[in-house]
Structures are given as C-alpha cells and as structure tokens.
C-alpha cells in the first residue's frame, strides 16, 4: 500500500522509461512500416525524389506565419536562445517563432514519437546528434537538403569542419547543425609541474596519457585521472584513431547492422582504460546523477590530475577555478589524445530539423534556421553558451573573439574539430537505437572497472550487446 501502481508516472524509474520507450518505439516502427517500401539503406531517398522545399511560399503568405520550435535548452542557454529568437521575431514581420521547452533531449524524443499519434509535431525541432537515424525513420522531416538546393546563397563551405557531414546520410542533408560540443582533456597544470611534466604539453598519445597518470600519482595525488563512464568519450577515441564504430561505413554506406568497435582502435581504448583503473592510475566516475561532476571537482580539489569531459562544461569550470575556492590549481585544456592521420573528432551536439508540413511553415522554418545558423547569430550564441560555433567565420566575429580570449580552452575544442580528417569514421556512426548501444558500452566499462576484468572480453561483450540492440531496432522497421 506504499505506492499506487497506476500512478507512478514521474518518468524517472527505469521501468517507466523502458516501458515508454518500448511502446513508443513500437509505435514509431509501425508508422514507418506503413509508409516505407524497402528500408535497406540508411537514407534510401535519392537526390532526385526528395520532397521539394517551397522557399517562395513565405512571400506568397498573407500575414505573418507562426511556427513552433521545440528545443531543450535550459537556464542561461534558454535565455540566449530566447534573445536570438526575439531579435528575429522583431526584425521582420513574415515569421513569428514560438519557443517550446521540452526539458531534455530524451523526454523531447518521447514526446516527438508520441506526436506521431496525436499529430502534435513542431515545425522546427532541435534533435540530439544520435537521433539522426530515428528522425529519418519517422519520415516526418523535410530534408534540409531540399532547402539548401533551393537556396542560391547557402554557404556550405563556411560550416565548421564536418558539422554538416555528421547530419547528412547518402548525400542528403537531414538536419542543420545548431549547437556543437566536443570532449577535451581537462588537466591541472600545477599537478603536471609537480609530476615533472610539461604543463603546456598535454599528453598526445595513449602511452603519454598513461605515463602522465603514473607520474601524477607518484607526485602524491590520489589518482592520476578520473574516467567518466561515458560511451561518447569512447566513441570519440575510436574515431580519433580513424576507425568505424558501426559496420557498413558507420551506417553511412547503408544501414548499420552491427557494431564495429570491437576493432584495434576499440581494443586500444579499453586496454588503456581497463589497465589504468586496474593499476590504480585512474578511478571511474558516473556520467549521470549527483556525482556527474566529481571528475572535474576532483581536479579542482587535487584528487586527480586529469579527466575527459565536454566543452559544454568549460565556462563553468573556468569560473569554478577562478572562484578562489580552490588553491594551487591551474586549469589546462588539451585535445583528445591518440589522433592518427586519418582520425578525428566526431561532431557532437544537436541539429535543427523541419517537421512542418504546410509549405508556408516549411519556408518559414527554413528562414528561421538560416538565421539561427548565420555567422552573426552563431557568434552570439557561442559566446553566451560555450557551444562551438557551426560557422567558421563566426570565429573572427567580436563576441567569439572576446569569449575565446577570456577562455582559450574553447579554441582547443574548435581546433581539434576542424583539424580532423574527413571520412566515415570521423563523420560518426548513424545508428537507430544509439541509446541501447551506449548502454552496452557503459555497462561493459563499469563491469571492467569493478572486476578489473579482461578488457578484450569486456569489449567483445559490449560489441555483442550493441549489435543485438541495433538488430532489435532494425527488426522493428
């Protein structure tokens, strides 16, 4: 009698989430099943039969076109988005954008999939990177490619590194990147000095990383490095060695059917991580929950000398170090180690998709999206939020320049992205059930760290489980 089974609706329990995902997942699969013919390749539309983008519909519309934009930006980021949007709304009288905040990427995706039933879908939606395949499969998005093709002055060349490529499959651009972030190596320069390492030269290879951890530990730190159990970091380190994460060219030549990270690159990462934890050179820390900042607070409180984490946290971390709370630490930011000639960093973040069906709204959505990704908007956006600008020319604009002068670490993230090789490995994997794949990797890492088990076996187990998740999704289509 302690709980009411029929009312446990807070969406937090794993059971709730699993059940919702299952049901909603089945539903979306059903919707796709009705609509599609052969679904063997990831994006089976050829350029020729893409739906067209009615860019001129906006001029024909009488009165302002109202569009809804679903996003998940919180707090300061939401304020920055609102400021940009308000400026857009008042700068012209053709389009009025209404912002709807859906809390976080996962909940928004549940709502989006439920919208396939209710018909309540937005006109523009900001979707997390890993939902690319799902967005294609829902068949609700007007490919951005159509609009790019219909826009003469679209400057694809100016988009940062492979930002466009990540959201494009089979030469069809599905989403337009809006906010980007990367993982970087955070370290304490004071710890490096104490350990006899060069504080201006962060470790560039896996061997150097391990040696640095050894020396930091020998210099009296509890541990050399704090490793977050986060599949995203593993994915990045695999791509940095130029290896695919999933088969069929990372799901970009045709739909991915199995995990491919059980390769030399994957082994190198698992052996590095597993070995460091087994030898006491690193400790693991969780990705979610109240302890999710422990790896970075650990640097500040001189528990560990290094950790990987997202650049989205950089602004906060810099403030934290400058607060005077932590004595005798100095923040350093370095690129992810282990880069090979054909390797690089995969674009992380989210992209804008057009879900509108009405021509005038489609045109309005495209107009607004071009505004949000213009060099000027991106410069303001990047300076306010810490996201990497999606436009290369934003880097020379005053807002970004000023912010980067304050926090030079941002440039590290930008540079490691634009210096990446361009191939399927660095374009990133396109997988339907990416969450299931990430769960498999993180579970294997956790178990390896706890049992100090064999890294190769752990990796093999992760790959098998990831493959089952990929197959289960594909089977539902």
């Amino acid at each position: 009698m302690s709980s009411m089974p029929s009312m446990s609706l807070n969406g937090r329990s794993w059971r709730a989430r699993a059940a919702a995902l299952l049901v909603v997942g089945l539903l979306s699969a059903g919707a796709v099943g009705c609509g599609g013919g052969d679904d063997d390749s990831a994006g089976d539309d050829d350029d020729g039969d893409l739906a067209s983008c009615p860019t001129s519909a906006l001029d024909d519309a009488s009165g302002p076109v109202q569009i809804t934009f679903w996003h998940t930006m919180q707090r300061a980021n939401e304020a920055a988005l609102k400021e940009l949007t308000d400026a857009y709304n008042s700068s012209q009288d053709k389009v009025k954008v209404k912002l709807v905040n859906n809390s976080d990427y996962d909940d928004q995706q549940d709502k989006y999939r439920a919208g396939l039933t209710t018909g309540d879908l937005p006109d523009v939606v900001l979707q997390q990177d890993i939902y690319l395949q799902q967005m294609i499969d829902t068949e609700t998005a007007l490919p951005v490619q159509s609009c790019i093709d219909a826009t003469e002055d679209f400057d694809a060349e100016d988009f940062t590194g492979a930002a466009l490529d990540y959201f494009s499959v089979d030469d069809v651009q599905w989403g337009l990147p809006f906010n980007l972030s990367n993982p970087v190596l955070y370290y304490d320069k004071v710890a490096f000095r104490k350990a006899g390492l060069d504080p201006e030269k962060p470790p560039a290879t896996f061997d150097e990383l391990r040696t640095a951890a050894e020396k930091i530990k020998a210099a009296g730190y509890a541990t050399g490095m704090s490793l977050k159990v986060d599949s995203w970091q593993f994915e990045q380190l695999v791509a940095n060695q130029g290896a695919d994460f999933a088969n069929n060219g990372n799901g970009r030549e045709s739909r991915a059917t199995a995990a491919a990270f059980d390769n030399e690159a994957g082994k190198a990462v698992f052996e590095l991580f597993g070995g460091m934890v087994a030898d006491g050179l690193a400790t693991s820390s969780p990705r979610r929950g109240p302890s999710q900042f422990d790896n970075l607070l650990g640097i500040a409180s001189k528990h560990n000398g290094m950790s990987f984490d997202t650049t989205a946290a950089l602004g906060t971390i810099v403030e934290l170090f400058a607060s005077g709370q932590y004595k005798d630490v100095e923040l350093g930011v370095g690129p992810m180690p282990g880069r090979t000639d054909d390797g690089g960093i995969v674009v992380g973040g989210a992209a804008l998709y057009i879900s509108a069906t009405d021509p005038a709204k489609q045109a309005a959505a495209w107009d607004y999206m071009q505004y949000l990704t213009s060099p000027e908007s991106q410069s303001k956006w990047s300076a306010a939020t810490g996201y990497i600008p999606v436009r290369a020319s934003s880097v020379d604009l005053p807002e970004v320049k000023a912010r980067w002068a304050e926090v030079p670490g941002f440039r590290v993230a930008y540079d490691q992205l634009v210096s990446s090789a361009h191939n399927t490995a660095t374009d990133g994997a396109v997988i339907g059930d990416f969450e299931g794949v990430r769960d498999a990797v993180e579970e294997a890492e956790n178990r390896m760290f706890l049992d100090k088990g064999d890294p190769d076996a752990a990796l093999k187990g992760a790959a098998d489980k990831a493959t089952s998740a990929i197959e289960a999704y594909n089977d539902r289509l």
């Binding site: 029929s6 609706l9 807070n10 937090r12 059940a19 909603v24 439920a114 309540d120 900042f293 934290l320």
Partner: protein, 279 residues
C-alpha cells in the same frame, strides 16, 4: 518494588525518544541539506568539505526558481489538475468500493478481479492508447486531457471495499429498519466510518497526481497547461554552480505536499494501521 516501577517507564521513554530522534535525524537530514543547498552561494556549493550552514543565505534563488520554472502558471495548473483527480478518485472509489462491499450483482467476483488486474498494468503500457483517446476527444492540451484518464483507479476501489467490508452488518440492518436506502446509508454511516481509509486514499492520489511528469509533458502543447514537475525539470542545469536554483525549485514544488502531509498526518497514520491492528 516501587523504585523499579518508577524508574522503568522513564528510562524506556528516554530510550524511545533517543531512538526516534536518531531516526528523525536520518530522515530529515537530506531535506535539511536541500534547504541549505538552495541558500548557498555558488562557490559554497562546490566547496570541500561541503557547507552545512548557509552563512550568506541567497534568498533570490527562490525568485529565480519561481520565474525560471514558470511556477506561477505551473503550480496553478498542478493544483487544478490534482484537485480534479483527487475529487474524481474519491467519488469513483467510494461508489465502486461500496458496490463491491455491500451490493449483490451478477459477475461481481469477475468484475472485482478485473478491477484488481488493472493494478498490475503500469500506466506506461496504456500511455499511447490513452493519448490517442484524449486526442480523438479533442482534449489534447486541456485540463480534461490531464485529469480524466486518472479519475478512477482499481486501487482506490479495492482500498475502500476493504474499509466498507469492516462495517458490521448489524449497522446496515439497523439502518434498513430506519428506512435508509443505500445512498443515505453510504453518506450518513459508511463514509464517516471509513474516513481514515478515504483520507489515506486522498493523500495517495494527491501524491500521484502532483508528481506526474511524463503524461503532462506528452499531452500539453506549450506552457499554458504544463504542470509543476515539468517546471522542475526545466530548472535542471548542466552548470554545477546553479544547483542551488534547482534545489530551491525542489523545495517550492514539494511544499504543497509537505503541508498536506502535516494536515492529514493523523488520518493517514490511522488509515495505514486500520486492518493492521484488528480490534
């Protein structure tokens, strides 16, 4: 031995109070930390060792949470939806519970088992069909859409059936002789006697309705009809030094629950222990 008899109860009382205080401390400490955390300066939030007393209380975290979580709209919506759900569940559960306890009708056992069976089906399983129904009825993004799917519960019918079953049949017979029909008996005798169980049900449905998150998110279009747990989620930040605002929001969202529990404490405990101690 008079000395022993005098000493014994005092010692026992002291022991009991010590034990209870220790337990209360364990239960209250997380709440205390939440309150303190909501008042700390950002740099104190991340200090090592953690601050356990707000030396410079930051009350503006509450106004920040109030506006950032849209609490003025969302709290009102939550209050309306919760009131509808609690009232609806009480009415349907009282009527259904009474019917199962006091009336004879065909297939009573089968229907009761079906009621019980609904308790085994998590709401998540029916979420899509419910969403479809609500949309077809044009209740999407309305208070009706938020409340109607929760107006009846198998659990409530079951709980109140058990309570009504405990009413002695002599009472029913006496009432019948006095000319009471079922509705009169229900209102004048059965409901007052089952008050502890009804209060317990009210509190449980309040908790359930107040804490809803996924359904309100799915069934609302925008801020107009969203409820407080969505606002709370929107306060969650990726910035480590903004946790004080999230914590302030947590307190604001939990406050109505705390007040309710204090008000209904007596009934709630009696409701939980009826049946447990058979007299």
């Amino acid at each position: 031995m008079p000395a022993e008899r005098n000493n014994h109860p005092v010692l026992r009382k002291v022991g009991a109070y010590l034990l209870l205080s220790a337990l209360a401390l364990i239960v209250l400490f997380p709440i205390y930390v939440t309150v303190v955390g909501s008042l700390l300066r950002p740099d104190q939030l991340v200090s090592q060792p953690p601050s356990l007393f707000p030396t410079h209380p930051q009350w503006d975290t509450y106004s920040e949470a109030w506006s950032g979580g849209h609490f003025s709209t969302y709290l009102r919506n939550s209050a309306i939806v919760t009131a509808l759900i609690v009232a609806g569940q009480l009415v349907t559960s009282i009527l259904a519970g009474y019917a199962f306890a006091m009336l004879e009708f065909p297939f009573k056992r089968v229907i009761f088992v079906v009621f019980l069976a609904t308790m085994m089906v998590p709401f998540e399983v029916t979420i899509i069909t419910n969403l479809q129904t609500v949309t077809d009825l044009h209740w999407y993004n309305t208070y009706a859409g938020l409340a109607v799917p929760f107006l009846a519960t198998g659990f409530g019918a079951f709980l109140l059936r058990q309570a009504f079953l405990q009413i002695p049949s002599d009472l029913r017979d006496a009432a019948t002789i006095d000319g009471y029909g079922h509705l009169k008996f229900l209102g004048r005798v059965a409901v007052p006697l089952a008050r502890p169980s009804i209060a317990a049900l009210a509190v449980f449905s309040f908790l359930g309705a107040w804490n809803q998150y996924l359904w309100p998110l799915l069934v609302t279009k925008d801020d107009t009809y969203r409820t407080v747990q969505i606002g709370l989620k929107q306060l969650r930040s990726t910035q480590v030094d903004e946790i004080n605002i999230t914590l302030a929001g947590t307190i604001l969202a939990a406050l109505p629950l705390v007040i309710l529990l204090i008000l209904f404490q007596k009934q709630l405990i009696r409701g939980l222990t009826t049946g447990a101690v058979k007299g």
